[in-house]
């Protein structure tokens, strides 16, 4: 008889049983979104010997503004090939939220497995302009603030509050890029000490180049399975023992940017602190945001933070969150971790956050 980790009351055990990601690169110019996704979808199924006919639900995450046209998810579905027709849905969010929708459906017990995928390319446009269109259309977007400038406001607020220094940001980047040397998918990986990084020029003060995420094209996919089906597909599934997401107001002036109450609340709801955490994969596009997140989640010494290098190693839009769940799951599968936390973010300065706790038995 299969054994499952302790779950938040009433929840059906659902685990991550397969994960695949494309090469994460600065510019994927030779393949369109469908062509980029197709081998990843094939890999995520092939690795566990199933096909699209074995999943009862498909959910994807993407955003039209990266493609520059409406309905970017429509043709992407051809990467799966939904014939005969399938139960399928799409979120205009990071794939981590697509996974959440699939997890909710799996709770109802009608289906035993689901495919989640997501994709996004930063290279076709100017991301600093595109992301400005994500802001309040009346009061903020007309100013065209780019995401790095907004993140710099947040970083400066941390410095002003005495919560961190520029050297702390550099230490995060130095460790993340060193970890990324072990990640074959990483786009930016190096071994440079803090002093070297602090000698870089500012991009937007107080953020230097090392504190910024790379511009990345890429995609990812995950298969979720419930109950015994999870064990049929994976010897040690990464069971989701808690998952929750929360949003804050969009108005930056109304937020304390130096803390992340939405991450804190999502972490509490997901039960992060109930047991020790071995690995945490955090979606912190800017180096200083990792410090905010570790504080919000109460992750202390002994937690291996973003061994993949995190979003500083590669930051494919709409996929970097799901990839965190995939990387955390891999740590469970390999036995490197018994309990892992994965986090995804969306919106300016960590406005919206999802926290997922994964456990292996």
């Amino acid at each position: 008889m299969s054994t499952f980790p302790g779950l938040t009351s009433g929840h059906r055990p659902v685990g991550v049983v397969s994960f695949a990601q494309s090469d994460l690169v600065r510019r994927e110019a030779e393949h369109n979104d469908v062509e980029m996704l197709q081998p990843v979808v094939a890999e995520v199924f092939g690795a566990i010997g199933i096909t699209k006919d074995d999943v009862g639900f498909i959910c994807s995450g993407s955003t039209d503004y990266l493609v520059g046209g409406p309905f970017s998810f429509v043709t992407a579905l051809d990467a799966v090939g939904v014939w005969p027709p399938r139960a399928e849905s799409h979120v205009e969010m990071d794939g981590a939220w697509a996974l959440y929708e699939a997890w909710v459906l799996l709770q109802e017990g009608e289906i035993d497995a689901a495919l989640v995928y997501c994709f996004g390319r930063s290279s076709p446009g100017d991301l600093s302009e595109i992301m400005a269109v994500q802001l309040d259309p009346y009061y903020m977007a007309p100013l065209w603030p780019d995401p790095t400038s907004l993140a710099a406001l947040q970083a400066q607020a941390m410095i002003d509050a005495g919560l961190a220094t520029e050297a702390d940001f550099a230490a995060v980047a130095s460790r993340a890029r060193r970890s990324a040397l072990e990640n074959p998918k990483a786009q930016v990986a190096y071994d440079r000490p803090v002093e070297t990084l602090l000698a870089e020029d500012y991009e937007v003060a107080p953020l230097r180049r090392h504190a910024l995420p790379p511009l990345t094209d890429g995609c990812a996919a995950i298969v979720l399975a419930a109950g015994d089906r999870a064990y049929e597909l994976c010897p040690r599934p990464a069971f989701i023992t808690g998952i929750d997401h929360r949003i804050e107001t969009h108005a930056l002036g109304a937020r304390d940017l130096t803390h992340s109450p939405s991450t804190k609340l999502a972490g509490e709801k997901a039960g992060v602190a109930e047991k020790p955490v071995d690995v945490a994969e955090l979606h912190a596009p800017y180096a200083h945001q990792e410090l905010i997140l570790t504080e919000a989640l109460g992750l202390g010494e002994g937690v291996d933070i973003s061994p993949s290098g995190g979003a500083l190693a590669a930051n494919p839009m709409m996929s970097a969150g799901l990839i965190r769940i995939g990387e955390a799951s891999r740590a469970i599968w390999s036995g490197q971790a018994d309990r892992a936390v994965a986090h995804a973010t969306s919106g300016p300065c960590l406005q919206q956050n999802l926290v997922c706790v994964l456990e292996g038995v």
Binding site: G68, P70, F71, T249, H250
Partner: protein, 390 residues
């Protein structure tokens, strides 16, 4: 579904060409507050907010739900954004309902909207893409050839579409929230309107609307509470289904898509529907272009393939004198805030089941079908709501 769930609150804005008096936030909040008040609730009673809308280019705001978090009372809560093309309003209601059916939440607010006057939907649909044929004619130009294929296949007379256009506009006269109120509507007025995409005249197409729709979905206990607080009965969800098929492949039947037939079959299995024409008291079906009424009558199994136009011609879908009233609200042909149009179909079925549809109420409606479709009719979302607890 593991847990029973129901629609316990309903809100919608008046649909019109331009809501210049409100921002996007003001528009969605108007519908949301109305739905909460209908349920006897406030924002504090809501566990999560699920937002849906059609392509973001329709307003020119990327992922606008982020900016709408405070306006929809979502701060500190889970907020979710669905986008499944024109079916999105229906899909959004389904995603919200699953949050309750799964036992994850007790009360979920779901909101869908479009503020088409902020941009130009037709051209937002026609942005040139590398290696793709541009869709320079908007949605009507896409669907007109499919409609002609239906006419050819079924032998339907040319005036069937015009009859639908008249019927839905007559229904809209009874709905104070409808965008188009055309008291003089008749076949001649439709026929005299300009030909846009043969065989579709101007008056056989949906309008461009600003508008928002909102519902509160509640658990069994939340429904009991709302009923005792407000005296209004819940609309129980008897089943819900979504299906998608590929946009293009050899052999795809775009006139009678299999995804729609499969979706209906799954839905009817859940809800125990065997003869749709008899089992439903009314239906709200996504008919943005007139001919989609007879086409969906067939696709949804209300008649045999090829017979849909005969039902329309016989007046079977009229509120007065028809045995299966379709689109008593006036339908998409009378109001089309695109992202909300699918939710309005679902919402109108709940309004009927709760007996709150006013002048366009079907007497003693006990079970109703809501349907939405999107894209090039490859995306479908449907639900059944009823008076009886499932």
């Amino acid at each position: 579904m593991s847990e029973r769930c129901a629609v316990i609150g309903i809100g919608q804005t008046v649909a019109k060409s331009k809501r210049e008096d409100v921002s996007i936030a003001g528009l969605v909040r108007e519908a949301a507050v109305m739905a909460l008040e209908d349920a006897g609730l406030g924002f504090a009673d809501i566990d999560a907010v699920v937002v849906g809308k059609a392509p973001d280019m329709f307003e020119g705001v990327m992922m606008p739900e982020l900016y709408l978090a405070a306006a929809l009372g979502a701060v500190g809560k889970p907020m979710f954004r669905v986008h499944t093309a024109g079916s999105v309003g229906g899909s959004t209601a389904i995603v919200a309902s699953h949050l309750v059916a799964s036992g994850v939440h007790n009360r979920v607010l779901t909101v869908a909207f479009e503020k088409q006057s902020d941009s130009d939907a037709m051209w937002a649909l026609s942005v040139p893409q590398p290696f793709a044929t541009p869709l320079l004619a908007g949605a009507g130009g896409y669907f007109a050839p499919i409609i002609r294929a239906y006419m050819h296949r079924s032998g339907a007379p040319r005036d069937i579409g015009m009859k639908v256009a008249v019927k839905d506009r007559l229904h809209a006269l009874k709905n104070p929230y409808a965008h188009l109120h055309l008291p003089d509507i008749d076949l001649k007025m439709v026929e005299d309107s300009i030909m846009l995409w043969d065989p579709l005249h101007y008056l056989e197409a949906c309008p461009s609307s600003d508008g928002a729709a909102a519902m509160v979905i509640g658990s069994e206990s939340a429904a009991a509470q709302a009923e005792s607080d407000t005296g209004k009965r819940p609309a129980w969800i008897h089943g819900m289904a979504m299906r998608s098929e590929p946009t293009q492949f050899a052999g795809r039947d775009q006139v009678n898509p299999r995804a729609g037939r499969d979706c209906a079959a799954d839905l009817y299995r859940q809800a125990g529907i065997t003869t749709p024409r008899e089992d439903f008291d009314m239906a709200e079906v996504y008919v943005p272009f007139s001919w989609y009424e007879p086409m969906w009558l067939e696709n949804l199994g209300f008649c045999a393939e090829g017979d849909g136009w005969k039902l329309t011609e016989a007046g079977a879908t009229y509120m007065e004198g028809g045995d299966i009233p379709w689109n008593c609200s006036g339908g998409v042909l009378s109001s089309n805030p695109i992202g909300a149009s699918g939710m309005l179909r679902f919402l109108e079925t709940a309004l009927q089941i709760r007996g709150l549809a006013g002048e366009h109420q079907v007497p003693d409606a006990r079970r109703a079908l809501g349907q939405a479709y999107g894209g090039g009719s490859q995306f479908f979302a449907m639900w059944v709501v009823g008076v009886d607890k499932p």
